[in-house]
């Protein structure tokens, strides 16, 4: 299949030259009729996309042309048509990510401008969102500080990680190394089903059962604690940690484990001194992905929290749950307009960037682990 080609040129220039060469090869290999069809298809699709972006009611015309061209190409020149079709599909996944970035950033711009703060005589846009703690969309002065929500998200994420990481890694060890085959066949779907329980159901149980119970146990005024939101979110992130960590553990070559066992170690010694260290980066990537899930968890937090954006007093008071970045959006989208809606988008931007960084980081860790282990096999 596809192999790594050591090209003559390196860097962007070389890559572009190679792409041009490949397009030229494709054009040379393809019949002219097919080439025309494919070109019409591509141009029509591009036009339809532009039309859609511009909110034009004529979008349907180029889209119909695209469908016609694709249908014709499918009947007469299936090979090239399929190749170009699949290419456009690949590009569209990239496009969606790009569109998400562009659109949520654009919507957030006004509030970032509004929340400028002056430092040493220089006006820094958006800075006031992070140095003040006041969120008030109604009474003067109207402020959209993200600090209370970042604090909430941080507390929830820390608690969730404390729940999900040890339990998840232990469960992954169990599934990949310890459990007999029959037990594994039962537990593994169980973990998958756990991942499938909708977050609103968790939230509902948390709201009706856990929240009153917690208020009773800790003598709180009102309902909603970061502590139990964190626990619930941790349980929800658990399956992610388990499945990714299990993949990492089972990617450790069997020969390494057998070699250790042949030295007369117990299974547990092999796990702690061979399997876990070898899979360490993969396991930490799993925990990172779990953290990402916890940060982005919305519905359980929305239903279980108080919805009053302020810092808890004192800061470590996890028994009071105010608001997280996600629940802020889910709770306020309805009545928000103008700047407040833009502030919700700003919260979305913070979420998106954080999780994207975590995702890329964990991918880098996994990639490095695969390379190291691959080299040793």
């Amino acid at each position: 299949m596809a192999s790594v080609t050591e090209s003559e040129g390196t860097g962007l220039g070389g890559a572009t030259r190679r792409q041009i060469q490949r397009v030229r090869d494709f054009a040379d290999d393809t019949e002219p009729a097919a080439l025309v069809t494919v070109t019409v298809m591509a141009i029509a699709l591009l036009a339809a996309f532009v039309g859609f972006l511009l909110v034009s009611s004529l979008t349907i015309v180029p889209f119909a042309v695209f469908l016609l061209a694709a249908g014709y190409g499918w009947l007469r020149h299936q090979g090239p048509t399929a190749q170009v079709l699949t290419l456009t599909m690949t590009v569209s996944t990239l496009l969606i990510l790009g569109l998400i970035i562009v659109f949520i950033f654009i919507e957030a711009v006004p509030v970032i401008r509004y929340e400028s703060a002056t430092v040493f005589g220089v006006s820094v846009p958006g800075l006031r969102m992070f140095i003040e703690t006041r969120w008030d969309a109604v009474s003067d002065p109207v402020r959209y500080s993200m600090v209370p929500m970042i604090h909430g998200t941080l507390l929830v994420t820390v608690i969730a990680t404390a729940v999900a990481a040890p339990l998840g890694v232990a469960a992954a060890l169990f599934l990949s190394e310890i459990a007999p085959a029959t037990v594994r066949e039962l537990v593994k779907p169980g973990v998958e089903i756990l991942a499938g329980i909708p977050s609103i159901v968790y939230g509902f149980i948390g709201f009706t059962v856990l929240a009153p119970w917690a208020s009773d146990q800790f003598d709180l005024t009102g309902q909603g604690t970061y502590l139990f939101v964190g626990v619930v979110v941790g349980l929800m992130a658990l399956p992610t940690v388990v499945s990714v960590a299990e993949d990492a553990l089972s990617s450790v070559p069997e020969s390494m484990k057998s070699g250790s066992l042949a030295m007369g170690t117990t299974d547990w010694q092999t796990m702690t001194s061979i399997t876990l260290p070898a899979a360490f980066s993969g396991v930490s990537a799993a925990v990172l992905l779990g953290v990402g899930r916890a940060i982005g968890e919305t519905m359980a937090a929305t239903v279980m929290l108080r919805g009053v954006p302020r810092l808890t007093d004192p800061l470590v008071n996890v028994f009071y749950g105010q608001e997280t970045l996600t629940s802020l959006i889910a709770r306020n989208y309805g009545e928000a307009d103008g700047l407040q809606m833009d502030a919700l988008f700003a919260a979305g931007v913070i979420l998106f960037i954080t999780v994207l960084v975590i995702s890329i980081g964990s991918q880098y860790i996994e990639w490095r682990m695969r390379r190291t282990l691959g080299g040793e096999v």
Binding site: Q83, T90, I197, P198, I205, T221, S258, L261, M299, S359
Partner: protein, 540 residues
């Protein structure tokens, strides 16, 4: 792990001393169960169990447990018990002992003796350090039992002397008031003690050393796995028990009791009537139901699948079969993984900013479909790619050797071989998005109570118009409800609920149950499909 470890070479007879350690493990198991029951208020601290006050019983058991563990360790050190200890208990055990002792020392110094936070920190570090040294320095049989065994003894004495009784309360004195009550502290502390002592006892049962540590670790790991499975069962069972009455209100069985349906021009009445899933909400209904939400969820899923599956599978084909592995595929991979972990509420925001203005500036079913499609897409790409990479290259080479073109090879060799993986991945992904609330909140959601007359009819809604875009489907462009949103709306509606339904709580739980059934049936089908294909593979 490797099959060779299945047979146990070292099989010792169970001696009387082993039985002591085993009994200690048993006592910790009992304490574990008792504390869980107390946490869930199945047993209360004020009511006696078997004639004994609960706190006294827990305290007594803790003292017995701690004493046994310590006694076993000391006995082993003095040579009364035959064990195989290492020279030190190791770093992990030392940290495990240091942390609870740090908490105990710090808590006592800062709160009971009133030395404040700084004094607490110093005292905590002192006791924690002491426990660390006491675990790390002596031989393993002493080190791994005495510091940890002393913990339940201390706790037990605190319970027995009534220092912490059923009425105990510790007000934290914070601006937003919070207190630790005995109802929470007693079970929680007992739980942790049981875990620590059970771990030490399991190590003792294994005779310390490598075998002992193996035993101790396995006990905890098995307990963890068991707890996760038990948690799942309790969760599902709880929803079922709470939801069943609501779902079954007004159920009738018999010829012609159900609503009328017309399929292929044939009109008939269902022989069973379940009002909760067959009705909407209306003033004159005997029983209210959530039919519009169920139908809405169905169309949402259909729309998302129609959008995401062709796109995702196509992208996977290009990435595995056409593209050269290089910078482009790497970027696409990073992008799909990034999309996969993007929070669902961000997808909602995106749908709100991008799709809603383009579909008539209002929330609509179509916008919801596409938003969920965006969410499903990365999952389809990832699972399809994995399935296609797993197809052996020999298949492709054999096909190419017959002079078959690349696309023909993909269509008739690669895709059929990868189909099981793709299908399973799609079904599991669908289960995931069917329960999503956050994205449709901003793009699609309709009212809390939807009348039965507003059930969407996508197929019947298509119309042709004279102006562009020539095809219109008002049904697709209207806000509609879906099960997860309906549940959210019911939760947040709060008090006003009572005017519309007789039993608001039952109605909520029933909605949760129906949602759970819908989502879990996708999972059941997905997991079942995987087993089916796997067995097919084994038969070949």
């Amino acid at each position: 792990m490797a099959g060779a470890t299945q047979s146990q070479l070292v099989e010792q007879e169970t001696s009387g001393t082993d039985a002591v350690a085993a009994a200690a493990v048993g006592v910790s198991a009992i304490l574990f169960v008792l504390s869980i029951l107390a946490l869930f208020e199945r047993i209360t601290l004020t009511d006696p169990i078997a004639g004994l006050p609960t706190v006294t019983l827990l305290g007594g058991l803790l003292v017995v447990l701690g004493g046994t563990v310590m006694g076993f360790g000391v006995g082993s050190r003095l040579g009364y018990v035959e064990t195989d200890p290492s020279t030190s208990a190791g770093l992990i055990a030392s940290f495990a002992a240091a942390v609870p002792w740090f908490v105990v020392g710090g808590g006592v110094a800062s709160e009971t003796l009133g030395l404040g936070a700084a004094g607490g920190l110093v005292a905590g570090l002192l006791t924690g350090g002491l426990a660390f040294v006491a675990t790390a320095l002596p031989r393993e049989d002493l080190g791994s039992t005495v510091p940890i065994g002393a913990l339940p003894v201390l706790t037990g004495l605190v319970f027995l002397t009534g220092t912490i009784g059923p009425g105990w309360i510790w007000n934290l004195g914070w601006e937003q008031p919070a207190s630790f009550t005995a109802e929470f502290v007693v079970p929680t502390v007992t739980l942790f003690n049981a875990l620590f002592a059970g771990w030490a006892a399991a190590k003792a049962y294994g005779g310390f050393g490598a075998r002992g540590r193996h035993m101790g670790a396995y006990t905890l790991v098995y307990l963890n796995a068991l707890s996760i499975v038990a948690f799942l069962f309790i969760l599902v069972a709880f929803v079922v028990v709470q939801g069943i009455p609501g779902v079954l209100t007004g159920v009738q069985v018999g010829a012609g009791v159900g609503p009328e349906s017309t399929i292929f021009g044939l009109t008939f009445s269902w022989p069973i009537s379940v009002p909760f899933v067959m009705n909407g909400v209306a003033l004159l209904n005997d029983y209210q139901g959530v039919l519009p939400a169920i139908v809405g969820t169905f169309w949402l899923v259909v729309g998302a699948v129609l959008f995401a599956v062709p796109l995702g599978v196509g992208a996977a084909i290009f990435l595995t079969e056409y593209a050269e592995r290089g910078r482009f595929t790497q970027i696409v991979e990073i992008a799909t993984n990034g999309l996969w972990s993007t929070p669902s509420i961000v997808f909602g925001l995106f749908g709100f900013a991008f799709l809603v203005p383009r579909f008539g500036n209002q929330k609509s079913l179509l916008a919801g479909m596409l938003t969920l499609g965006f969410m499903l897409l990365p999952l389809v790409v990832i699972t399809s790619r994995e399935a296609m990479i797993a197809v052996p290259d020999e298949y492709r080479d054999a096909s190419a050797a017959l002079g078959v073109s690349r696309w023909q090879t993909i269509r008739s060799v690669v895709l059929p071989a990868a189909l099981p993986g793709v299908v399973t991945g799609v079904i599991l992904g669908v289960g995931r998005i069917a329960g999503e609330t956050a994205p449709i909140l901003l793009t699609m959601a309709g009212g809390t109570f939807v009348p039965g007359g507003q059930t969407v009819d996508v197929v019947g809604g298509f119309q042709f118009t004279a102006t562009p875009p020539f095809v219109a489907n008002p049904e697709l462009l209207q806000a509609t409800s879906a099960l997860p949103y309906q549940l959210f709306a019911l939760i947040t509606a709060g008090v006003g609920l009572g005017q519309n339904v007789a039993d608001p709580d039952g109605f909520r739980w029933a909605t949760a149950l129906v949602l759970l059934i819908v989502v879990l049936s996708f999972y059941a089908i997905g997991i079942g499909t995987r087993y089916y294909f796997r067995r097919q593979l084994r038969h070949e």
